[in-house]
């Protein structure tokens, strides 16, 4: 008898083969030419457009949309990619509802924004077969970029474009960072992350060295000596612990690991998932893990967050997406203990409330049955490699300079900005510009 959503414990193949395909297709299917023209026509070409300010990479949105409207999506792509070389991925993963589209004048006026993200995808998809940029004459300078996630890729591309020779290191066996290992499958289908990396690297001048980890064979001070400059985009590799009893039981795992396994799985039907899954956290990672667990065929998925919905890092759109997929969102509950004999069976929560002294337990508790518990309560910096910290991240100024001369950092590992793909791209780009100015200035 084949497995079903109701099969107890962890099990693979809970769904019919076709269901996997249906569940993990594009969240927003690409626009066809007609849809793109209709969507583009709604843009007012605003003066000093608010959408542009809300984009962390400051893409000239009115211009690129007008270029689509006038039949030159390739020119639109160049407008986008000039500011944001990962404009293709950002078009798929940006929480536009809290960025550009939130402030679009048509969202404010009518509650219906111009669909900037989808138009951005429409344009960038048109140029994935060719690379629109070329390298400047070689400068003879070399730069080490550590971390091939959005921040590192963006920095490497900009540096290569300015004519520097870049060596791009990453600890993993594949480049892309969380684009490859973290982003929800239905946001980046058909191996887009890997295709985009190949496309980005086709500018030339970037040597990729995979399986090379800083702190494990590579030393930062050596890199700093060997290269004219170093950029760190190493993301967040640590995970926060729940700090409650029973965290070590079988079936308790980090949501990022679950997602990474899912992203790398060749056949989703071989991936085990619990019948009853509890995800703890309130951010994008929590939503992605919960939704994907549900799509893999879990019968019952609960996302439990310790504060109210308004405090969740996941946007309203993402919360609604989770709810629409059948994820139950429980708020104001904090984990007390994970029960079970070897493997998790149940998880106990305390109800919480916001009080004058912050969040407090009400004294009341409840239990949820669970055979899989996913922790999604935030990632932390792995190793600062001796650089000065600000909070729990590498301290940088607004062009990415760290406390060490000649070393820049950006993306999730660096202070400032939201932990978003698009922010990482902006920080990588800006650091690269500063590195370029520094190397060429003298």
């Amino acid at each position: 008898m084949a497995n079903s959503p109701a099969t107890p414990g962890l099990a693979a193949g809970r769904l019919a083969p076709q269901a996997y395909q249906d569940n993990f297709t594009d969240l927003h299917p690409p626009l066809n030419d007609h849809e793109a023209l209709v969507a583009a026509d709604r843009c007012y070409f605003c003066h000093d457009a608010p959408c542009m300010d809300a984009c962390p990479t400051t893409i000239d949105i009115p211009l690129f949309i007008r270029q689509i409207a006038t039949g030159t999506p390739e020119a639109a792509a160049t407008t986008i990619l000039t500011q944001n070389i990962l404009g293709g991925m950002c078009a798929r993963v940006c929480p536009t509802e809290t960025l550009c589209e939130e402030v679009c004048v048509r969202e404010v006026a009518e509650g219906k924004p111009v669909t900037i993200g989808q138009l951005q995808r429409f344009a960038t998809d048109k140029v994935m077969e060719s690379h629109p940029f070329t390298r400047a004459t070689p400068t003879g300078k070399t730069v080490a970029v550590v971390g091939a996630g959005p921040a590192g890729l963006s920095a490497a591309h900009r540096l290569a474009m300015h004519g520097h020779d870049v060596v791009l290191y990453d600890a993993r066996a594949k480049a892309g960072g969380l684009n490859e290992f973290g982003i929800a499958s239905y946001k980046s289908v058909d191996g887009f992350a890997a295709r985009e990396v190949d496309w980005l690297l086709s500018i030339g001048g970037i040597e990729v060295k995979l399986g090379q980890a800083l702190g494990n064979g590579l030393q930062l001070d050596e890199l700093a000596k060997r290269y004219d400059a170093v950029f760190l985009g190493i993301g967040l590799t640590g995970v926060n612990a729940l700090g409650c009893d029973g965290e070590d039981k079988d079936g308790v795992l980090d949501a990022v690991d679950f997602i990474s396994d899912l992203r790398q799985a060749d056949t989703l039907s071989t991936l085990p998932v619990g019948r009853r899954v509890v995800v703890i956290g309130g951010g994008m990672t929590a939503v992605d893990a919960a939704v994907q667990a549900k799509l893999l065929g879990a019968e019952d998925v609960a996302l439990v967050y310790r504060r109210g919905r308004d405090r969740m890092n996941a946007s309203r759109f993402e919360q609604d997406l989770a709810a629409s997929k059948g994820v139950r969102i429980i708020t104001h509950a904090s984990p007390k203990a994970i029960h079970g004999n070897g493997a998790v069976v149940e998880i106990e929560f305390a109800y919480t409330q916001d009080g004058p002294g912050g969040l407090a337990e009400t004294g009341e508790t409840f239990r949820l049955k669970a055979d899989q518990v996913m922790k999604a309560i935030g990632q932390t910096l792995g190793d600062a490699n001796g650089l000065k910290l600000e909070g729990r991240k590498i301290a940088v100024n607004d062009t990415g300079r760290t406390s060490h001369t000649g070393i820049w950092a950006g993306g999730d590992c660096a202070s400032g900005g939201d932990d978003l793909t698009v922010t990482a791209v902006a920080e990588g780009r800006d650091a690269a510009e500063d590195i370029h100015a520094t190397l060429m200035g003298g």
């Binding site: 030419d33 007609h34 026509d41 709604r42 070409f45 270029q67 006038t70 039949g71 030159t72 407008t79």
Partner: protein
């Protein structure tokens, strides 16, 4: 990237996009920002004689026609020429040209129809360092009542006379701006050429009333309960302007006379179309007034992408390329047959093509009980109406029948050769020896 560099009458500009003489070019503050935004040149807002400045209305001077989603399609204005003192404009022109030597700065002029005022103002314009002059024989409202603007442009003899004075008293390249408010645009163009004009520019605005206020019972825009006709421009006038450009480009008398194309240029494509019909460059007013100066960036990127795709390396490669194909009806091939084809995957089943064809055309579209719309080849006359009313771009296309195929409507076998009205047996004045029958 294709080189958009443009040379019009020897006047250089980094691209062929000039701002037309109008409010966008009425002062130094605007023109500087226009150049910063990327415009290749400007035709300064029309200057008049020294003396008491022009007085404009202080109520609404614009009216408009809108498309869906309040897209501005046509703009109507009752503004006069510049209302700022001549000396101020001349000083500003001098400063701007000095600071932007690589951009084209043309000065538009309109003074009374006498030699002396023209001679006087030309001397002053020459001192500014401007690249040329444009004679405004076009504005159809206000100034025309005082014997200037289109009042001159509608009388070819006046055009020739004034142009002659301008060429006599100035070495500057002279562009004559034509009014479309005339029945045959070739006549003023010919007159300009006879007068020695180096180029013509067209069109100026078209006489119009955009709307009537049904409460006040007066035309709009309304000034204290009264209205007057204005000049119409914007996307709506482009077809009229394109036709006039093509007429001048193909008229044996004016062929080769440089043309600056104006009228509804809103995107790179509009510009390419004007230029393909023979305009050496284009001038823009309404698009800038609707979207701001930045709109030129799309024109620049779009034109250069298109030129790259087509393999054109300079604008001269395609200027006039479509002009020879603008011909008279009698030369069209009457044996050329197409049929409408509906792409069922794209069709959203609205039925507009059916209504249009059934009620107002040739009953050539069939509608099934489950709303599948298909073309009856034996009825379709290929009028293209369905293509134009279909809300989905590219959903209905026209398929050209190949030689040897049968036109199911007429039974004619498509021939290898052509037959125009001049060779058609139904043409009573055709030469019988030339007539070609197809036997159907």
């Amino acid at each position: 990237m294709a080189d958009l560099h443009s040379k019009f009458l020897g006047i250089e500009s980094p691209n062929p996009f000039w701002l037309a003489s109008a409010p966008p070019t009425d002062k130094e503050y605007n023109v500087r920002r226009a150049f910063e935004a990327g415009w290749g040149g400007v035709v300064w807002k029309t200057l008049g004689e020294a003396g008491p400045p022009i007085v404009n209305v202080s109520g609404p001077r614009y009216g408009a026609i809108f498309g869906a989603d309040r897209r501005l399609l046509g703009l109507n204005n009752i503004e006069l020429i510049t209302d700022r003192p001549l000396e101020v404009n001349l000083e500003e022109i001098t400063r701007v040209k000095r600071d932007y030597p690589d951009r084209a700065v043309i000065v538009s002029l309109m003074v009374p129809c006498e030699e002396e005022p023209w001679k006087k103002i030309l001397r002053e314009v020459e001192l500014t360092g401007a690249d040329g002059v444009e004679l405004n024989f076009g504005c159809p409202h206000g100034m025309a009542e005082r014997g200037m603007g289109s009042a001159v442009g509608q009388v070819p003899e006046y055009i020739e006379m004034v142009t002659g004075w301008v060429k006599k008293h100035s070495h500057l390249p002279c562009i004559v701006k034509l009014t479309p408010n005339i029945s045959d645009i070739r006549l003023p163009a010919q007159a300009a050429k006879r007068g020695g004009a180096d180029a013509v520019s067209l069109i100026n605005t078209i006489t119009s009333i955009t709307s009537v206020n049904l409460d006040a019972m007066a035309p709009e825009p309304m000034i204290d309960g009264m209205g007057t006709h204005g000049g119409y421009c914007g996307p709506a006038v482009k077809p009229i302007a394109l036709n006039m450009v093509s007429k001048i480009a193909t008229d044996p008398e004016t062929q080769g006379l440089p043309i600056s194309g104006i009228g509804g240029v809103t995107t790179w494509r509009d510009a390419a179309e004007f230029m393909a019909l023979g305009a050496g460059n284009v001038q823009v007013c309404t698009a800038a007034m609707t979207f701001g100066f930045k709109v030129v960036q799309e024109m620049i990127s779009g034109l250069s992408q298109w030129m790259d795709e087509k393999g054109y390396t300079s604008t001269a490669d395609f200027v006039g390329a479509a002009a020879p194909k603008a011909t008279e009806w009698q030369h069209l091939n009457l044996d050329f047959v197409t049929k409408a084809v509906i792409n069922q995957d794209d069709c959203i089943k609205c039925g507009r093509c059916y209504a249009a064809c059934e009620d107002t055309s040739h009953q050539a579209i069939e509608m099934s009980d489950d709303r599948v719309f298909s073309v009856k080849d034996d009825e379709c006359v290929a009028c293209n109406l369905c293509v134009n009313v279909c809300p989905v771009e590219g959903c209905i296309t026209m398929r050209t029948l190949d030689p040897g195929e049968v036109d199911e409507r007429t039974g004619m076998v498509i021939p290898d050769d052509k037959r125009s009205w001049l060779e058609h047996p139904n043409n009573p004045s055709a030469d019988p020896n030339m007539c070609i029958t197809r036997g159907q």
